[in-house]
Point group: C2
Chain length 416, copies 2
């Protein structure tokens, strides 16, 4: 039984394809989401359907696998049962449970507001497709409201977009948002000038993109500034409310604040009663099982494992490689063979895109920035997306956007 149909869960399911096992994948959504492109839905570049696919559809040819749309609420390690709720439109319909022989938890992370959950109302996260379409509506509606706003102060607040968190998501959002305001929509309004829209990227630490080499992060910083993005580093956010954000003594008025500053693990550790690291991720052993439970694997962002004295990062590649590794462990066990060597993450590198034609690429000793990195970024993302989605429509969309500078999906929804 695999809980979670993200990068780790899907790869684990695929790795079990040819084994004499029955596989169940449970996810609360009917779809897998290609998280690295979620920001492009929020900035109206791509439509939700272009970065997501039904888990059922991805695994439909795998006859030993079934997919279940349900919300897992607990695990009983003694009776080996997973408890879950079947949910209708907005309400739980039924509580059910199902037994397992081997459990693989790949439930990921959610947004963390560092103890300030009251910020969430004013500064949404960007973790689900619903988040992304809602953020998109907020951004686009701000421009619509600014167009009919007579008060200059309120108009300014409506045209100020604040991104809290200078990691890849914040940086990519900043670039895409600057491009949306300063290029795509430049001819669309009569009373406001979209090029005056402020995009402010706030980072508590000393620099943006802390997981990248300093020289590359500096390049990204310059690129963003050249696109008109204001960057505030060393600026922890004290407060977020309906008026905007407070950094130090300064209040920044904004109608659109997005929070990408931190994550916290999903409650898998609580289900298992397992030991965790400080942020709450489940400590796993070299074979990705929980100590004392050789039939319980935890993988992806919700698992905590050190390699060469450093914690593995919460990135898609780790989850995917761990999913495949678990498949290998199970195959060996079924064959009565020796366990494989402990899991080792092979770091294929790190990428981030900054607007049009500019990306960063860091892989082993290679450090690339600018247009070549952007081409590599586009190629690699199309390639990974196609593994899950079986389609190249995103490429057509990107090509169209690239040529016309227009977007694919500038819809404000949710009115009714």
């Amino acid at each position: 039984m695999i809980v979670g149909g993200g990068f780790g869960g899907i790869e684990a399911a695929k790795a079990l394809r040819r084994l004499a096992v029955d596989v169940t994948v449970i996810d609360r959504n009917n779809h897998y989401v290609f998280q690295p492109l979620l920001y492009q839905v929020a900035t109206a570049d791509l439509a939700p359907g272009q970065i997501a696919a039904p888990i059922r559809q991805i695994l439909r040819r795998q006859r030993n696998t079934e997919v279940l749309m349900a919300e897992v609420v607990g695990v009983d390690l003694v009776t080996r049962r997973v408890h879950f709720d079947i949910e209708g439109a907005g309400a739980t319909i039924e509580h059910k449970e199902q037994s397992y022989d081997v459990l693989i938890l790949s439930t990921g992370v959610q947004q963390s507001y560092f103890g300030h959950d009251e910020f969430a109302r004013f500064a949404p996260a960007l973790k689900t497709l619903e988040d992304a379409t809602s953020v998109r509506s907020t951004i686009l509606r701000s421009f619509e409201l600014a167009e009919v706003e007579d008060d200059p102060e309120r108009r300014k607040a409506l045209l100020t977009f604040v991104l809290v968190g200078g990691g890849p998501t914040g940086v990519e959002m900043a670039g895409a948002l600057a491009d949306l305001a300063h290029v795509t929509m430049v001819k669309d309004f009569r009373h406001i000038d979209p090029t005056t829209a402020r995009v402010v990227l706030i980072e508590a630490g000393p620099r943006i993109l802390p997981t990248f080499a300093e020289s590359l992060a500096e390049r990204a910083h310059q690129q963003l500034v050249s696109m008109g993005v204001e960057i505030r580093t060393g600026a922890p956010v004290k407060l977020v409310d309906a008026e905007g954000v407070v950094i130090g003594d300064e209040r920044l008025r904004s109608a659109s604040v997005l929070w990408t500053a931190g994550v916290k693990p999903s409650p898998a550790a609580a289900w298992l009663g397992a030991p965790t690291d400080r942020p709450g991720r489940v400590l796993v052993q070299g074979d990705l099982t929980v100590a004392g439970h050789p039939n319980v694997f935890v993988i992806g962002d919700v698992a905590s494992l050190e390699q060469d004295g450093k914690a593995l990062p919460g990135v898609a590649q780790v989850a995917m490689q761990q999913g495949r590794y678990v498949g290998k462990v199970i195959a060996r066990r079924l064959a009565g063979a020796a366990a494989p060597k402990p899991f080792r993450y092979f770091d294929k590198g790190n990428m981030a895109v900054v607007g049009r034609n500019f990306a960063l690429l860091e892989a082993q000793k290679l450090r690339l920035s600018g247009f070549p990195a952007w081409l590599a970024w586009a190629f690699i993302h199309i390639n990974y997306l196609a593994q899950f989605n079986n389609k190249l429509l995103v490429m057509a969309q990107w090509a169209w956007t690239y040529v016309t500078r227009q977007r694919g999906s500038r819809l404000i929804l949710g009115r009714h």
Copy 2:
């Protein structure tokens, strides 16, 4: 001032492009929707963004035109002012008004439940993008719930899809839904067989597609039956509730009922205090103005005009031609020239698509059905869509769907 950014409003705005006038287009949504393909969003063929475009984007190069996202709530014919609400996310922010010299109302129709508005909760309509994504979620969720349902009766109800109304939308939905269940999803489930899903099309009148020639409607009927759709004609729906529908003495249990049975005009007549026809559409004169108000035009589905003793149908072509005609009237007035001849609708024909590879086409004396009509349908719709959207991505999507039999957008959203 143009109220309504649908087929009629957009064409009117475009027709005023080169005149020495200031044009304002007001719509409650930021986007224009290509209504004829809305059913394809509901059946997961297309994504919302593929059949919609921001009105602002469509008209961005037209420098004499501004676009305003607001909900019109009234018109004052004496002071010549339009009253509207500016709406934020879920709440009215401000009430405003704007004066006009010439008013063009193109506010369309909404769904009618023939006095049974209580049905709406259980049998949604298909008029907006929000309707379409919500119907899509309901349909897809029914399959998900059926997959985990142990009770055979409830499973049957979850796999019964009822379409009330045998007009083009009902027929096109029935075909697409049968294809979705019986072809696209055939390999996706382990506990249910999607090919056993029932699609029931209910029509109160004696036959489906009453606006088409009887021979063509009969072909469509046969085609739907061959696709496994059950058709009930002469079957007025007495009741719709949480359990399904009641036709005569028979109860049909269904978890997914869609209502496409009738329309009622938007409240333009009430705003104007103008005389209407029986359904409430504004009676207009040969130049599409309201009697006694030469500066007030009403066009599209909300206008009532007879031609050769028959009321003009509520179709896109009428609205578009009327929009262009109003542009001509205004141009003549500005030039001090004589008024053009009264409006005459040129009927380019009528089309409906029934599943894959089969459509109906009726134009003047031409009557076509089957694959050639389907090709013509696809070509014509791509062509009209491109006028508004400037893109051919739908063609790529259709080609992909055609080859793979998979859909582009099978997402269940709205969970959070």
